[in-house]
Symmetry: D2
Subunit: 167 residues, 4 copies
């Protein structure tokens, strides 16, 4: 059974989304695809779009779990799953994945990351990718919690770790 990897991160409009950070997301999606994984994300813009773009460049398959309408899916989504439940759809992204990778992000990403760690799903944060991911790659922040995410330095490290897990 193919690995399902969720990428969680900022929608378009986040001022943290520099070209460098979008490249991290695209590279992550590309590597997931190259290794035979299915990319799942929230289907919208920003990190979601960049990771899906990368996965398509890697000839992979992309699933977008959308808040409301499938017309909101970015152009790199093969399978748009329009849930009609808004923010609740974050739960589905996390639940259906074998592993969740966080890149940059604001409150929505934090919602997903917190749930993912809370339910014991392997959760990886890419270091220095801005926003929430920066926050959670600080030792100071992580001291707050017993269960912790994995901090990966690069997309390669994140994706290699994800594929090293038994599902």
């Amino acid at each position: 059974m193919r690995k399902i990897i969720a990428v969680s991160g900022s929608n378009a409009g986040d001022s943290n989304l520099t070209g460098e950070i979008l490249t991290i997301a695209e590279e992550t999606g590309y590597l997931i695809a190259k290794k035979g994984g299915i990319l799942v994300c929230g289907g919208l813009g920003g990190i979601m779009e960049a990771s899906a773009k990368g996965a398509k460049r890697g000839k992979g398959i992309t699933v977008g779990i959308l808040p409301w309408n499938k017309k909101a899916a970015n152009q790199y989504i093969d399978i748009p799953i329009a849930t009609g439940i808004g923010f609740y759809r974050n739960n589905i992204i996390v639940n259906c994945a074998d592993c969740v990778i966080g890149i940059c992000g604001r409150w929505g990403t934090l919602n997903e990351i917190a749930m993912s760690i809370g339910i014991g799903k392997p959760t990886i944060i890419i270091d220095k990718s801005g926003g929430v991911s920066d926050l959670f790659s600080k030792k100071e922040t992580l001291k707050t919690f017993k269960k912790k995410p994995i901090i990966a330095k690069t997309p390669e490290e994140a994706v290699n770790y994800a594929f090293s897990l038994k599902s």
Copy 2:
């Protein structure tokens, strides 16, 4: 954007599931795939498995929206979406589809069909496919409701109708 068609019907174990009815489901999945649609179903056995088998024969892509664990997915599911919410996942099957086709079925199918018609999603029932579908293809039953499903005589008629709809 590719059409997404949900097939709703009995899980394995329903005594109504004769070879003839499973053939109807397989043919429906096959035709959805041949016309370029994405098949969505509940990912388990019976009608879900037969329709996914047909879609794979037609070189299509299959999505299984599963109640709990992706390991329960039948062998013809390309994209298993494990929701972790049991019966609530029926809502996602219906919401993400452009059109829902009901074949045979018991209470779970009835739950999906009722929601689908209730929210105004185009809903087709294949006549003489047993169980709930037989019930809803009776004029006597349909008199109870103002909003009604489409009754199709064959998989061809059902799938042609589904693809004739604007999405």
Copy 3:
């Protein structure tokens, strides 16, 4: 722990909702309250409002599980739970109840009744209360299913049965 009884039935606007049928709903709500139960319903009009009105007359407590906004709650709802998930909220009504009583109803009620029976929740339909309830009190219809609802002749019979169940 107090019994939680869900009443499922048509929203305002259903042409089946005669004064007689609304009286059945009100009486059901009244009896649930008199026996110390908590009434749960969808919080809107029609059968939901009539049963909540009855429960308040019986000095009981009423919970309305609403599709979107709490402002849509009828005037007899003590605890409006605004879910923000539309039709999916039907699942919560059924899940949180010890027993579900169906009165009249259209597709939404049928969605709830089907789920309730499907997940093995004790489910009672009040005979001759119109719509879906009429459909399911027919032997012909019930022949379709192995798991069946209880058919009660009156609100008294329904509520007595509900309170006779171990929770």
Copy 4:
């Protein structure tokens, strides 16, 4: 219409839950009740139990939105809403409230707080109440986000703020 205030915080077992912090939760629940509000929480132990205990001391009404079974509700819950959807129930707690107050907390609380701020619900964190709340009362942390929670120094300040909002 009565205000609905959600209290979000650690379940029993969190080592941050000192007597002092439980007193903050109890006082918060008490004040919500005294002002005529309905307390909503996750229905389990720790902060959820302490706030419900306080609300009952204040002669208020308490709702517990439970992950699975109503038998898990703490003894101060009047209305247990058993959802059968685990962690997804966090969404309902947040959605049904007019305002969310965070006290202490781990990943589950963070999931709720992040969603609450993400969807634009007024969100208050009680300063120096440990765990996640400590994290979010730091300026350093808050710099990460544009939308921010309100930081209240005491239960009084939190509850007064909650009741000052138009609903």
